[in-house]
Structures are given as C-alpha cells and as structure tokens.
C-alpha cells in the first residue's frame, strides 16, 4: 500500500484567514466566538457563533464568480488556493487525471437557500436568479475547486453531518493508499450561520447562549461556526521525488455506525472508530500522544467521548492529551474535521497542543487531560482527530509526525 502525506494546508475560519494566523490563535488560546452579525438575529434565541468577521466576498471574487459561489464554496476556494500554493503542485497531463477533490459539507449552499426562500416566501417574488441550483448544491465547492486547478480524477462531496470532513479525508487517504490516485484535495467547508441555519439548530435545544465549554462541568451546549479547511494529500513517493515539504503523514482511518439513535451518541460506536483508526495505522495504542476531540460542549457528547477514549486506551488515556478546539472556532459542522486537523498538524509539526478554552470546572465524567485554557508544548508522534455525527456516524483519522 502506498504511503500518504500532507503537502499543503489552507483555511479560513473564525480564528484566521490562513494557516499561520489560525495556529497563532490556537497557541494563544484565542476565542473566535462572538455576537452574530446576520439578518434577523434579533429573532433568534441563540445570538452567538464562530463567524468569520470582516469577510467581504468582493475582496476575493468578481461579480460573475459571486453569482455562482455560495459562501461555503468561497471558503473552500480560498482554503484550496492556500493549500495548492503551499504544495507547489501544478496539475496537467497524467497528474491531473490522477488527482481529485473530496470535500465534506453538511448544509452546502444553505445561505443561498435561505436567501432565496426569503425572496419567494417572505418578499413574495416569483422569480429567482438562474444559478440558484448550481450555487446551492452540496458538490458546488468540490466542482469549482476541480475546475480551478484542473483536477480531473475522482471528485465528489460527502455529507455525513458533523463527520463529513473526516469521512471525506478518509476516502481521499484510502484512494491514494490503494493506488487509485496520486494527489487529492480534501477537507470540508460550511457556512450555516444564516437565520434559517441557526433557527433549525435552536429547535434541538442543544445550543449554548453564551460559550462553548467542552469537558467543563459548566458546559451548556454547542456553538456553531463557519469556514473551511483544505489539504493536499499526496502519495509519498510522488512528494519525495519532487522534494516537497511534508507537513505530516496520514497513517490510519476508521469509520463506524452506532446503528442506535439518530442524535444520542454511543460510547461503543465512538470507541470502535477510535480503536479502528489505531489498528488501521498499525501502531501501538500508547503511541498516541494527542487527540483532537469531537468535544462539542454538549452534555451528551463530551462524557460519551471521554468514556470511549478511556475504554480504548485504558491506563494510557490518563497520559495522552485531548482537547477541543471547538471552544475557539465553534462547531463548523460539515467543515469541522478539516479545521480541527490543523490542530493535529500543529501538534505534530510545531510541538504545540491547542488548548480547550473556556474551561471552568472539572467534570468527573470527563476526567482526562483536556489541556485546559492554555496551549502546551509537547513532543508527540501520533495524533488522532475524532468526529462523531448525528445519525451515529463516526470517523477518526490518525496522523504521524514526518521525520
């Protein structure tokens, strides 16, 4: 089987408009969650989010592009531009045919849907812009990225709610590993911070009105965020032959289904995915030094996730570090695993573990080293990234330092 390495990374998220600024925010434990600035926010019970502030689409795209690019597509394109730029790759000939795009998203062009439902239902308009369908479709971001960089191989979009990005990256990893492709752009994007997007989440009664405090006894729910993370996954020999700078190696992936409840998480389902990723990576459990948790800040997720980690790792669970960066950037839903993979790369490459901010009080049901409030220097070899979705769908990636 081929080895797979990451040779480019890009992002735009509430912590920063690129990877260096995101790493800086994670090191400082800066929180990007604040008051939402969206239409009709006064009619929402939940008025905070991890919104990308100061973002002007006209700074990045022309009028024709904006007519086709929903906010989630814009974020994906901006992140992809950084990732491809860092990788130094240009796609033509056989390489273009052996390169593709797999992205995760949950809501796709939800903002476009929201705006146009508003136009036809609230404003009573009987006509919408001709490009609403290609703008709102979930695969728009992957398709536009494939067009922009001439990626002509396997390209599609995965929608598994909060695990979308991890499922997407897992597929990209396995396609290269089995020899099907050489290079994959992968990750995910989400832009759900519109009135309808938040109103729907409000209904579930799992959102916090004030902050995302994963693992803290005082946690009272999740906070939504928006943004994208995109990575260049490349077959190792291909990267080595061209002298690419390798950020880290992707060594394992596993996915499971709880097959039990549409919203309540299952310890067994999560544990099987975590253990599966470690097994797939072919490493001993005690090689894992850091886990980027799913850590949503809900009562149910955090205690279930900690129990799953304790089950899988036994005594080693007390030695590894586990943090939730959602405390800083919020829950990017279908894009969350992609932005969170950055924390794993920072841990492996820079030796800095991103903290769980907003942590106030220990919860005996989350009695692990959650790296509270302050980032920590640590030399680790292997990091995992957890994602557990509504629908009981779990996806865990394993990364290793490249030395």
């Amino acid at each position: 089987m081929a080895r797979v390495v990451i040779t480019g990374a890009g992002t735009i998220n509430p912590l920063g408009a690129d990877v260096p600024s995101t790493f800086a925010a994670m090191r400082e434990g800066r929180c990007g969650i604040g008051p939402l600035d969206i239409l009709d926010v006064e009619r929402l019970a939940i008025q905070i989010g991890g919104q990308i502030k100061g973002y002007q689409e006209t700074d990045h795209f022309n009028r024709q592009q904006i007519a086709l690019y929903d906010r989630f597509t814009q974020f994906a394109l901006l992140a992809a531009r950084q990732a491809v730029g860092q990788s130094g790759l240009a796609f033509s000939g056989a390489l273009a045919d052996q390169s593709g795009v797999i992205f995760g998203t949950s809501g796709g062009g939800l903002t476009t849907q929201d705006e146009n439902y508003r136009a036809v239902y609230e404003e009573g308009k009987n006509r919408v812009h001709p490009f609403i369908v290609p703008k709102l479709m979930n695969n728009a971001a992957a398709s536009h990225v494939s067009m922009e960089w001439n990626l002509r191989g396997p390209t599609f979009t995965v929608a598994t709610a909060c695990a979308s990005s991890n499922h997407a990256m897992g597929q990209a990893f396995n396609m290269i590993r089995c020899g099907m492709t050489k290079v994959m752009l992968t990750g995910g994007s989400e832009a759900m911070l519109c009135f309808g997007g938040i109103k729907a989440w409000e209904g579930l009664r799992v959102m916090s009105k004030d902050a995302c405090r994963p693992f803290s006894a005082t946690r009272n729910g999740m906070v939504q965020g928006e943004g994208a993370g995109v990575f260049v996954f490349e077959e190792y020999e291909h990267a080595r032959a061209r002298g690419a700078d390798i950020l880290c190696e992707v060594i394992g992936f596993a996915m499971t289904s709880d097959a039990s409840d549409i919203v309540m998480p299952s310890k067994q389902g999560a544990a099987r995915a975590i253990a599966g990723a470690v097994r797939d990576a072919g490493i001993p459990k005690d090689a894992v030094g850091y886990i980027n948790a799913h850590g949503t800040g809900t009562a149910a997720n955090d205690k279930t996730e900690c129990a799953a980690v304790a089950d899988v790792f036994g005594r080693h669970a007390d030695k590894l570090m586990i943090s939730s960066t959602k405390s800083m950037h919020g829950h990017l839903i279908g894009g969350t695993g992609a932005v969170e993979l950055l924390a794993c790369i920072m841990a492996l490459r820079d030796g800095v573990i991103a903290p769980t901010v907003g942590y106030e009080e220990p919860d005996p049901e989350c009695a692990l080293d959650v790296v509270p409030n302050v980032a920590r220097d640590a030399d680790i070899d292997v990091a995992l990234s957890n994602a557990f979705a509504f629908g009981g769908l779990n996806a865990v990636l394993a990364l290793r330092k490249f030395a």
């Binding site: 579930l204 009664r205 946690r219 809900t298």
Partner: protein, 86 residues
C-alpha cells in the same frame, strides 16, 4: 380543553398512550418518553400555549422549567402563562 387536559394530550400523543393513562405523578421516563420526545413535547407546549419554555437539553435538571413529572410540567406551564402574560 383545560390547560391540564391539553398538556396531558400532548404528552399522551408523544408516549403513544391514551390520555387516561397519563397520571400527574408519572415522569416522562415512566411513560417511555426519551430526550427527543421531551424536546418535541416542549415544542408542542410552546406552540399550543404561545409561550417560550426555558429549556436546555444539556442540563434539563438545571433549567428553570421543572420536568420531573407530568404534574410538575403542568404547574410550570401555568406559571409561565402567568409570567409571560404580564
């Protein structure tokens, strides 16, 4: 229907029981209503009585709205009606 009857009807529908089988002493768990069913009950109560129920599924026990039994829910709804009518 009285307030009591309306709330019992909402809970009975969620529990797939006859209203006569829903007693004030019963907890929602006794009636087989899970966390999703609870959130649906609260939504139905808000819609029926045009009130806003302060409830966070992350910590139902610490919400101001007492959901420990059918009778407690009825009392809490009446209190909210009185408060929110002001």
């Amino acid at each position: 229907m009285t307030t009591d009857e309306k709330i019992i009807a909402i809970i009975a529908e969620q529990a797939m029981l006859e209203p006569g089988d829903v007693t004030p002493e019963a907890s929602l768990a006794d009636l087989g209503i899970d966390s999703l069913g609870l959130v649906e009950c609260i939504f139905a109560i808000e819609e029926s009585f045009d009130i806003t129920v302060p409830f966070n599924a992350n910590d139902p026990s610490e919400s101001d709205f007492d959901i420990s039994s059918v009778g407690a829910i009825i009392a809490a709804v009446k209190q909210l009606q009185a408060d929110q009518a002001k």
